[in-house]
């Protein structure tokens, strides 16, 4: 349940897909990353994302499997958009489902942290002064 796609996603639909996996699910934690209009002191007018096909999907699958095995989640879904993204739009969604809230929160936090750390996806910010690739993440 990992996808990298240009088109926007529906948070409700993604949650429903995860809920269908098991009736043991009793708690779902989500992280939704959205496009902010301000970065490092500059006004940002838009973003675009590029990924390394095959490797990026492979890393997301690894993260999902680890979130399930090591953090006790029942299912974890990860969706990341690429291409041009306008301010306010969705960028990334993690849906982590578990029997109880603690496992769901932990799996969700692990998944977004690992996504930022090991997944070959890059962000380019467009500001008044021009475009710039971002080479680190907070």
């Amino acid at each position: 349940m990992v996808r990298i796609q240009e088109k926007d996603f529906s948070v409700d639909e993604e949650i429903e897909l995860v809920k269908k996996v098991s009736k043991r699910i009793g708690g779902i934690a989500i992280f939704l990353g959205t496009a902010r209009d301000f970065s490092k002191g500059k006004d940002i007018s838009g973003l675009s994302f590029e990924h390394y096909p095959v490797m990026a999907e492979r890393k997301l699958n690894e993260i999902r499997e680890r979130a399930i095995k090591e953090f006790g989640a029942i299912e974890v879904s990860i969706v990341h958009r690429i291409g041009k993204i306008r301010i306010g739009e969705n960028i990334v969604l993690i849906v982590a489902a578990a029997e109880h809230r603690k496992e769901a929160f932990n799996a969700c936090e692990f998944s977004i942290d690992e996504l930022k750390r090991i997944t070959p996806i890059w962000k380019k910010e467009t500001a008044i002064g021009g475009e710039e690739w971002v080479e680190q993440h907070p």
Binding site: Y52, V92, I112, P120, W122, H137
Partner: protein
């Protein structure tokens, strides 16, 4: 043949997306030397950036061995999410 790929800011600095090297392999370090023959001073550009290396879609290093048919990617630090 070895496929060399560049991404994001590195792709823009290098000015191309990929290079097909007619090489039987060696270490990534050897591949960089061979790349310079295709694109002069490309290794200097790559080494001046915070470049990371992936071989066949897994993170690698300068001493990682590469063989015929492999794919080597030069990639900047990640900024997804």
């Amino acid at each position: 043949m070895i496929k060399i790929r560049f991404f994001a800011g590195i792709k823009e600095r290098v000015g191309k997306e990929e290079v097909i090297l007619d090489s039987k392999g060696g270490s990534v370090s050897d591949i960089l030397k061979a790349l310079d023959e295709d694109t002069p001073r490309i290794s200097e550009i790559l080494l001046s950036l915070k470049t990371m290396i992936a071989v066949n879609h897994e993170m690698a290093g300068m001493q990682t061995l590469v063989k015929d048919g492999d794919e080597v990617a030069f990639i900047p630090p990640f900024s997804g999410g």
